[in-house]
């Protein structure tokens, strides 16, 4: 049994079958990549995982519980964190404040009316947020307004925010999209480090094969909303169906 | 039955004013992405174009009439319009009588200029600012504009009648085969309705069938891409602002005979026209027109004595009630696009 079990998921948008009978199983503490050409349904699938879309058919179970029909914040509270293609952070707030929010969310749940305590007086939270910033090498920037940071730092902050919640499953949506080679490599190293140091399951959607093959333990190839193959990276590389899907070559 | 028809007629008429204002508002919003709270003021300025024009026509010199006395017992000073001297009294009177329709010609350049000046002088600096800032600065502008008008024209309404031929009413019901004397409707209101239909049609045709309009529509959908094509979209948008101002102004000019213009008529319409735009869906031209007519008709029905007997006060709140219901059931109004103005 994987930590994330996807069974028979289908989703239609008007005349387009975006997802068709998707079956997927993400093993605990593994890094599972979902790849596929443009329009293969990767993002749709991700949106199903986080509660943004509800599929027409099928089931998505996280750790034995269905995520379907739950809102994004409920799913996050179950232990799934998401990193976006373009970093989604609280741009108007300082880096430190950005860091504190997920820590609060982890401790206090989706809503708590703590309206008169000083937030900086909450030692546990401040400590945890600071540790996390140190770990991610953002400690010096703690007072900066988040929107004024470089893109790489924003990405780092976003990942830090997700990790601070100790998620059981981290979803990454093309984390290196639009990045220069050097930044990409930094990000790969960061993710590798995370993988090694933490008990965490990672599901990653990616375009960049370099990233995928450096990180993934298992890969699912999606084409036209249908999973073609699910296998180890080394088996995927030369797989004829994959080449067909990507390059339009006919399998012979 | 005839009561219903009558109220539909009233609703269409009211709705045409709402629709015209909302159309301009949406045009500005859709093209420039600016929420223009001064749009009601443009409507008001349009109405005052009619007032000003008829004042120009009746610009007078005084002649002392020794035979009559004024209220203090002094000889009466009679104002004689210069236009009498130019064309003679009969023609002069005829021209003055037609002041409102004639002032359309006067108002178009004025409103285009006002729109142009507003866009270049103020609005363009607000394209990149948050919607809240746009709302606030144009709200401030609306206050300033109406206070200026009040300073020169006073606070009281100024009667601005329609030409005598349109002054009366006729039995509209008889045309439709109802009993005589059941559906009486004023000529001018039908003129207003036809005029509104014409303007709305013209705006749609302009956007639909001209190259200019096509570029603007493309710009409404995706400004950046159109900009990439090397088309100077900003300049076109400036012109669109002028056009939207002219539409509001014309709506105001023609409205002057229906209700005597006063300095706060813009604010009276502002809230209502925003409700109309939002109910129609921000950024949707057909939505604005549809919502204008819909709210006009509902408002008319709510003012019927039968309705008020059962639900007293409904006429006070109907517009807002409908707005709430529509916004709760259709998140983006009747025909709104996703993601517009939701931040």
């Amino acid at each position: 049994m994987g930590i994330l079990e996807v069974k028979n998921v289908g989703k239609r948008f008007g005349g387009l079958q975006a997802l068709n009978n998707v079956e997927l199983s993400v093993k605990e503490n593994s890094c599972h990549a979902i790849i596929g050409p443009n329009g293969a349904g990767k993002s749709t699938l991700l949106n199903v995982f986080v509660g943004k879309l509800i599929p027409d058919t099928g089931s998505v179970m996280f750790d034995g519980q269905s995520v379907l029909g739950r809102t994004p914040y409920e799913i996050n509270q179950m232990g799934i964190s998401r990193v976006f293609q373009t970093p989604e952070i609280f741009g108007d707030l300082s880096v430190m404040e950005n860091m504190m929010i997920p820590v609060f969310a982890k401790r206090d749940g989706s809503f708590r009316m703590h309206a008169v305590q000083g937030m900086m007086g909450d030692k546990d939270i401040v400590e945890k947020a600071e540790t996390m910033l140190e770990e991610m090498g953002l400690a010096e920037k703690r007072g900066m307004q988040a929107s004024s940071m470089s893109r790489g730092d924003k990405r780092r902050l976003e990942i830090a925010m997700c990790l601070s919640q100790d998620p059981r499953l981290l979803l990454l949506d093309e984390p290196t999209a639009g990045m220069a080679r050097a930044d990409t490599n930094n990000t790969i190293d960061l993710l590798k480090q995370i993988k090694e140091e933490r008990d965490i399951t990672i599901a990653i959607i990616e375009h960049d094969m370099h990233v995928v093959f450096s990180l993934a333990d298992r890969i699912t190839v999606l084409a036209q909303g249908t999973p073609l193959v699910e296998d180890h990276p080394e088996n995927i590389k030369g797989h004829p169906k994959v080449r067909e899907a990507y390059l339009g070559e006919t399998a012979d | 039955m005839d009561a219903i028809v009558l109220q539909i007629l009233n609703g269409l008429d009211k709705g045409s004013a709402y629709a015209l204002i909302a159309l301009g508002l949406t045009l500005i919003f859709g093209t420039l992405g600016v929420v223009n709270f001064a749009h009601g003021a443009l409507f008001m300025i349009g109405a005052f174009c009619a007032v000003t024009f008829s004042r120009i026509l009746t610009w007078s010199h005084t002649v002392i009439d020794e035979t009559k006395k004024d209220f203090l017992g002094n000889p009466l000073k009679v104002e004689v319009p210069h236009i009498y001297d130019l064309f003679g009294q009969a023609t002069g009177d005829a021209i003055i009588d037609w002041a409102v329709p004639l002032s359309i010609l006067f108002s178009i350049p004025v409103m285009l200029f006002v729109g142009y000046a507003m866009e270049r002088g103020l609005i363009k600096h607000f394209y990149k600012r948050p919607h809240a800032d746009q709302i606030l600065v144009t709200f401030g502008l609306a206050i300033v504009l109406q206070e200026i008008i009040k300073y020169y024209y006073g606070a009281n309404p100024i009667p601005t009648p329609a030409p005598a031929v349109f002054a009366g009413s006729f039995d509209f019901g008889a045309l439709l085969g109802f009993d005589p004397n059941t559906i009486i409707y004023p000529y001018w209101r039908l003129v207003y309705f036809a005029f509104a239909a014409l303007i709305i049609g013209a705006v749609f045709a302009f956007l639909q069938f001209t190259t200019f309009g096509m570029v603007v529509r493309a710009g409404m959908a995706d400004r950046e891409t159109v900009g990439l094509l090397g088309i100077n979209i900003d300049k076109r948008f400036t012109i669109m602002f002028g056009i939207a101002a002219a539409v509001a102004g014309l709506a105001g000019v023609m409205y002057a005979p229906i209700n005597s213009p006063n300095y706060h008529m813009g604010m009276d319409f502002l809230v209502l026209s925003f409700v109309v735009v939002v109910v129609g869906g921000m950024g949707s031209l057909p939505g604005a027109v549809l919502a204008g007519f819909l709210l006009g008709i509902l408002e008319s029905f709510a003012s019927m004595a039968i309705v008020l007997d059962t639900l007293p006060g409904l006429n006070q709140i109907i517009i807002y009630l409908v707005a709430i219901i529509i916004l709760l059931t259709r998140p983006r109004g009747l025909m709104g696009r996703k993601g517009v103005m939701e931040d």
């Binding site: - | 009558l6 209220f71 009667p159 009648p161 009276d268 408002e299 019927m304 006060g313």
Partner: protein, 448 residues
């Protein structure tokens, strides 16, 4: 910059000398050294003119202010003396009030009760006004009147026509010269009967707020008393601008008279709309369809333009009256400003003079003295014939004018013609009349 005469409380001019550190416990802001609120101790007395300067009634407010300025001029002995020459009481000598020069402060009511109270309070607290007067709506009049009662100054109401001002909301410190809804109904009914007969079906459109209710009730009961039938009465929102949907159904209702219980912008628009719908050209039940506007104002009639022609209504006063008082007032106002005064101007001017006269007769500015002097005071020569300030409710009882929109106006001011001067007896009612019931005058409050 020390040229201003607008000093605060009279108290200060003398007590400023009292030196530093003197703290006096007071209620409201009347100094305990004073016998009553804002007792003028210096050589001047300050009056507060609280009129709408912004908002839809700003023009009416401007006319009220002109009248007050004229009144102050006359009280201080300037100008031609105006109505002081024709006023039956001869207590005023043109040397201010009780020998003190009259000064004034102005404020903007915005025709909102909150704003009106704020500006009245600033006049009382900051400027030391001993009397507040003015206003152009009943909401404001009632609010400011209640304030003056609490504060202990006199309120001389400006234009307010609702029964409530001297009915359920009457106050001992407040006085109204203007007529009211009941009087409009009582004055109009006989004229309407004479002109239109007693077999009529009336349709009311009523502004949906207090003044509208009292006016509708007054006109309804007095017209029904002479045989008219009320077909329907529909309330219209204050914020309504287009009345088409209310007016269009009138012809279908079988009514042959439309009564527009509207004032201000509402009146201008509803009347304009009614004429547009051709109601006046129609024949219903074999009779000409007629429109009635219970409360007329010349300033508003101007807004409706030619639409007022031939339409009946009532008004407090009109400049074309030919009694000595009216003539004197029109003359001094007209010579100063170049146009004839409105009824609002007249009522405000008269109120200012009546207050000054009451102070003279009472020999004090003490509100209780003024109240006593005004209660039951009978006077003449102020334009409306013999007038009584009734003690029971502080309402003036005088002749009421029934007017009609003029067919051939000679100027922009000449819009109404007087049809009948309804004698005071006909519009007098008992203080406990059901339309006025529910209030309590209380006792005068001098504030200290």
């Amino acid at each position: 910059m020390s040229t201003s005469n607008f000093t605060r409380r009279g108290v200060l001019k003398t007590s400023a000398l009292a030196g530093a550190g003197v703290a006096l416990p007071t209620i409201f802001t009347a100094s305990s050294a004073a016998a009553y609120m804002n007792e003028p101790k210096g050589s001047t007395v300050t009056l507060g003119f609280n009129v709408p300067q912004s908002g839809p009634y700003a023009d009416e407010g401007a006319d009220e202010l002109r009248a007050y300025e004229l009144a102050v001029e006359h009280l201080n002995g300037g100008g031609d003396g105006g109505l002081m020459n024709t006023f039956s009481s001869k207590a005023l000598k043109g040397n201010g009030i009780l020998g003190k020069k009259v000064e004034y402060v102005t404020g903007d009511t915005q025709t909102k009760s909150d704003a009106a109270r704020a500006s009245a309070k600033s006049m009382i607290e900051k400027d030391g006004a001993v009397m507040i007067t003015g206003g152009s709506s009943s909401g404001v009049a009632v609010a400011v009147q209640a304030l003056c009662q609490e504060a202990g100054v006199i309120f001389m109401a400006g234009l307010t026509h609702s029964n409530d001002t001297t009915g359920k909301d009457k106050k001992a410190n407040g006085f109204r010269h203007f007529f009211n809804s009941y009087m409009s109904g009582a004055a109009l009914a006989p004229v309407l009967q004479k002109m239109y007969g007693s077999d009529r079906k009336a349709y009311h459109l009523t502004a949906d707020y207090n003044w509208g209710y009292t006016t509708e009730e007054a006109v309804k009961s007095s017209t029904e008393a002479m045989g008219w039938e009320t077909v329907n009465a529909v309330k219209t929102p204050l914020t309504q601008t287009d009345f088409s949907s209310y007016i269009a159904p009138v012809l279908q209702s079988g009514a042959d008279v439309l009564v527009l219980n509207h004032y201000g912008g509402n009146m201008v628009n509803s009347l304009t709309n009614a004429v547009q719908f051709g109601l006046r050209d129609k024949q219903v039940n074999g009779k000409n369809f007629e429109i009635v506007v219970p409360l007329y104002s010349r300033l508003m009639a101007k807004g409706a333009g030619a639409n007022v022609k031939g339409i009946f209504g009532s008004t407090n006063w009109h400049w074309s009256l030919t009694d000595e008082g009216s003539k004197a007032f029109v003359k001094s106002f007209g010579e100063k400003y170049g146009f004839p005064p409105s009824q609002a101007a007249h009522t405000c001017y008269v109120q200012a003079l009546l207050y000054a006269d009451a102070c003279e007769r009472a020999g004090t500015f003490n509100p209780c003295g003024v109240v006593e002097a005004l209660e039951g005071f009978e006077f003449d020569g102020m334009g409306n014939g013999k007038t009584l300030y009734r003690a029971e409710d502080h309402q003036c009882f005088k002749d009421v004018l029934v007017v009609k929109g003029k067919e051939n106006p000679t100027s922009e001011f000449d819009l109404l013609e007087i049809v009948e001067v309804t004698p005071v007896e006909q519009v007098t009612y008992a203080p406990d009349h059901p339309q006025m019931a529910g209030g309590e005058l209380g006792t005068c409050n001098p504030g200290a």
